[in-house]
Structures are given as C-alpha cells and as structure tokens.
C-alpha cells in the first residue's frame, strides 16, 4: 500500500516535471520566431547539455581530470557506444592506479 501523503508528493513532483516539459512548446508553437530569438534557441541545446555535466569539470582530482580529458578526446573521435565503454574503463583504471 502506498501512503497517501507519499502519493501526493510524487504526484506533485510529476506534475511539475510534466509542466516543465510542455511549457516551452505551449509558449512558442503558434508563434513566428524572429531571427534573433531563433539564434538563441539554436544555442540552447549545447548550453543546457554542458551545464548539466559541469560538476565533472569542477574537480582537482588528477585521476578524474585525466579521465575527463581522455573522454573528451574519445567523444571527438568515436561514436556513442565505444566512447561510453572505453571512458568507463579508463576512468576505473585511472582511479585505481592514481589514488588521491
């Protein structure tokens, strides 16, 4: 049995999340965009994605910095699957062999 209060908390979170997902579309879907707004919209994806992973860049740990640099290099050369797999392996090895 799910507690009623827990249920309403989850429902509140889910409602907020869904509203964030549809708001951008509801605001813009029947508008003609001026070119400047269009340029800003173009920049959104990169800015959002890089802000989400920013914590990985906020480190002074040598192993993590090396792992991040190698992951950047991998991402620039390879497709998704090899990048993900090699990056995990390299990160694990670096953390194992370069302790704090």
């Amino acid at each position: 049995m799910i507690d009623y209060f827990v249920f309403f908390t989850i429902l509140a979170m889910a409602t907020v999340t869904y509203l964030t997902r549809i708001t951008g579309y509801l605001l813009l879907h029947n508008k003609v965009l001026n070119p400047r707004l269009g340029k800003v919209l173009e920049a959104i994806p990169g800015c959002v994605l890089i802000a989400v992973i920013a914590p990985a860049f906020a480190t002074t740990n040598i192993a993590n910095l090396l792992a991040l640099a190698i992951t950047l290099l991998l991402a620039s050369r390879f497709s998704l699957l090899p990048t993900v797999i090699i990056s995990i392996a390299v990160t694990a090895l670096l953390r194992h062999y370069i302790p704090y």
Partner: protein, 229 residues
C-alpha cells in the same frame, strides 16, 4: 521510411545510452530504499517523473513523511531546463498534431531530446521524426523504470558502483551529443560561458542551481552574439 523502421532505428540508436542508464538507476533504487522509501513508491516516482536528476535530489531529501513543497520546488529547479529544451525543439515540431506532441513530451529527457534534435537537423526536411523519438524514448524510459526497481530490490547487495567509473558514462554520452551539435568555435562560445558559469555556480551555490545559472549565462551570450551577426 516506414514508421516501424524509424521506431527500431531510434531504439537501436539509444542502446548505448540505455547501457549508461543502468548503473545510475540501480544506485537510485538502492539509495531510495536506504532513505526509507518503499519499492512501490520509488517505482511510481520514476515512472511518473522520468527525470533522473530531480529524482536523485528528491531521494536525498526524502523524509517520512516527505516534505511536499520542498520536493516540488527542487524538482522545478532541476527540471527547469526542460522549458528551454522544449522551446528549442518547437520549430522542428511544426506540422505534428498538438495532442501527439503533448504525449511525446512526457518522455523528453536530455538524451532522447538531443538525439532527436540532432536527427531532425540532419534530415532533409528538417523535421522531428516522431517514431524515431518514440523508439529511443521508450527504450530509455523502460530501462530507467525497470533498473531503478531492480536497484530497490537488490539495493543492500550492491555497493557504490560510481567508484568503478560508471559516473563518467553520462559525461561521455553528453560530450558525444555535444559533438553532434558542433558548428565551429565561434558558435561554441556560449557553451564555454555556460560551462564556466555552471562550474562556478556548482562550487559556490547549494543544490542544483548550477544547471539554470550556466544555461541562462550561455543564452545571454548567444543573445548578444546574435545582435552582431
């Protein structure tokens, strides 16, 4: 191409990301159990939200009974980037019926959104491919919900898997997605500003403000740069 083929194409393209979801969803489920949530509660939460960042925050702030307003506000903060993401996608959604779009947007996460965005830009008609998106989204959604539930069930047995390098999987995924959006050094200036501001915000502000601060700073720079084009 047929809708069936497009669905499969999206699903297959999402496989590497599905793999990267697994360790995180296991950890989320395990943490939820440690914080006193019931397995049914964590499953319901991820099935209704499908927004990993906000779910990790909620689990870490979870009390019994939970603080509804705090959790709703934190969820808004972490997921506010969806507003920007939806706005960026909207020009590619013209021509799709509103009902279909509103349903599809329920499943919009960073990864499915970036994949479909890149796919739309590559396509000859510059349009969002609905079935490609649904294929990718469904794979990601089911992976997330199923493995979070498994994490809740086997939680006490697994340690902190992030120690083995799995946390770098998300960074790797996002960097490959960013490469797909690369349009030269000048176009990347807002990204760099976004990164710097997000890192500084992360270091000096509590919680999840860094996503919003970084994204907004980058967009201000993009807005100023658009003026000089």
């Amino acid at each position: 191409m047929s809708t069936h083929k497009e669905f499969i194409r999206g699903l297959v393209a999402a496989i590497p990301i599905m793999i990267s979801f697994i360790p995180f969803s296991l950890v989320l489920g395990a943490q939820a159990i440690q914080r006193g949530m019931a397995t049914g509660e964590i499953s319901l939460m991820v099935a209704m939200n499908f927004a990993g960042g906000s779910e990790f925050v909620a689990v870490n702030l979870w009390t019994s009974p939970p603080h509804l307003l705090l959790l709703a506000f934190m969820t808004l903060l972490v997921n506010s980037r969806h507003i920007l993401m939806g706005a960026a996608l909207t020009p590619y959604l013209q021509g799709l019926p509103k009902k279909k779009v509103l349903l599809a947007l329920f499943f919009m996460c960073d990864e499915s959104w970036a994949m479909s965005f890149a796919d739309a830009k590559k396509s000859t008609n510059q349009r969002f491919n609905y079935h490609y998106y649904i294929g990718a989204s469904l794979g990601l959604y089911l992976t997330w919900v199923i493995f979070t539930t498994i994490g809740a069930l086997v939680g006490p047995l697994i340690g902190d898997v992030t120690h083995y390098g799995f946390d770098m999987a998300f960074v790797a995924v996002f960097l490959v997605l960013l490469k797909g959006m690369w349009k030269g050094v000048v176009a990347a200036i807002p990204w760099l500003v976004s990164l710097i501001v997000a890192v500084v915000s992360y270091l000096i502000l509590p919680g999840a403000w860094y996503v919003l601060c970084g994204a907004i700073a980058g967009l201000i720079v993009a807005f100023i740069m658009a003026h000089y084009d």
